[in-house]
Symmetry: C2
Subunit: 234 residues, 2 copies
């Protein structure tokens, strides 16, 4: 890809640490970014405010917040009236599929991204999935992403016309949280405007105790850096 | 599957002739039906009224009309401000991908169905795609559906836990429109409550001239039956 002909990419932006890093990576690779966030009824809707901030800070071509209310189906602590687990150990977090798993969420998000990307004539989609810290989520695994790329090749115009193939970019998939943070910092990502907590207080302040907060804090600690977010004092 | 233990299935119901037939087939195979329709900004929103009628006539367990506004992305005559083609010949209809193709629509619809089905602990999804009359749509082909089933196996809990596999049922995929109509009639489908037109008038009356109307009328003619819908007089 030459600098004279920037390509378009749809980037899934949740407003969290990972997707903010992925957005910076897509920009650093020369892509014009079409950012896609989902208002899916998540209890941590503060992340959409973070998504807006992250997109504003990164000169995206367009930012769409797509309404897609998964609460109608339930089945997850993030979309139904279930408590979010707190204070789980590393062992607990890596054992089995957590109840914060949202049924088929990444399949749904990637599919909508595919629709937008095809309408744009783009062939690249970026997302911040990670198979190290989220080993319990079936839809964060490399084999899932490979299967999605194959599906995209078959299910869109390029598959009939033979005019190209899709690339699903998951640049964080094999990185630790500390490695992600170091790479983001090197690219100038401002993590103070991101949001990771599954269960923030009314002002949007992170709980510091859910799986997402714990992974984030551990990542900053291992990277030898301080998380710029303000956590409660324990 | 025994009659004593009905299984659950999510059935995509557009309100058209094909999906009404598929719903009847799913019921005839003993499934409890969870019907899913999409309000995706289609210009032929009358089909949602038809979807309601079809579900009411078929004792479904639940009918969800899921808002998913694809107009934000455009790219199709069904979701953007483009004219719907009329009076095309069979040759024209079978040449290339028509502009009524909605980017990644079946991928998106199947993904949302997958999310609901997983939340229900179902393993079966039915849809009315057809590879005979819609040969130009990439996401109506058997290889696309096979790829989606593979994706579903990898991207949901069963893929990690090894507790089952998904079945994507497309019972109409190799039938002609006439064969679909005959099968539906044998199952007691009332086609007078269905809606197929891409471009109905203000009262919901079909145009009789778009690809969808022409395929429907041709199907009834070849089946030796009369379409119960009222068309304009030419």
């Amino acid at each position: 890809m030459s600098a004279e002909q920037p390509q378009q990419a749809v980037v899934l932006v949740s407003g969290g640490l990972d997707s903010a890093t992925v957005l910076a990576i897509a920009r650093s690779r020369g892509f014009d970014v079409y950012a896609l966030s989902f208002d899916y009824g998540q209890r941590h809707a503060f992340e959409l405010e973070a998504a807006r901030r992250v997109c504003a800070a990164n000169s995206v071509e367009r930012h769409v917040i797509f309404p897609l209310d998964l609460r109608v189906f339930g089945g997850s602590a993030l979309t139904a009236d279930m408590p979010v687990p707190k204070d789980r150990s590393d062992e607990q977090m890596s054992a089995g599929i957590p109840i914060t798993y949202v049924p088929a969420r990444n399949t749904i998000f990637l599919s909508v991204a595919l629709g937008w990307a095809e309408a744009l004539s783009a062939r690249d989609i970026f997302l911040g999935v990670n198979a190290v810290d989220y080993s319990g989520y079936p839809d964060c695994r490399p084999e899932f992403l490979d299967a999605f790329a194959r599906l995209a090749d078959l299910g869109t115009k390029v598959g009939v016309e033979g005019t190209g193939t899709w690339t699903i970019h998951a640049p964080l998939i094999s990185l630790t949280k500390a490695e992600i943070i170091r790479q983001g910092r090197a690219l100038g990502v401002d993590y103070s405007i991101t949001h990771s907590c599954y269960d923030p207080d009314e002002s949007g302040r992170p709980c510091g105790r859910c799986d997402s907060c714990r992974l984030r804090l551990k990542g900053f600690a291992e990277a030898g850096l301080e998380d710029p977010l303000a956590y409660p004092l324990w």
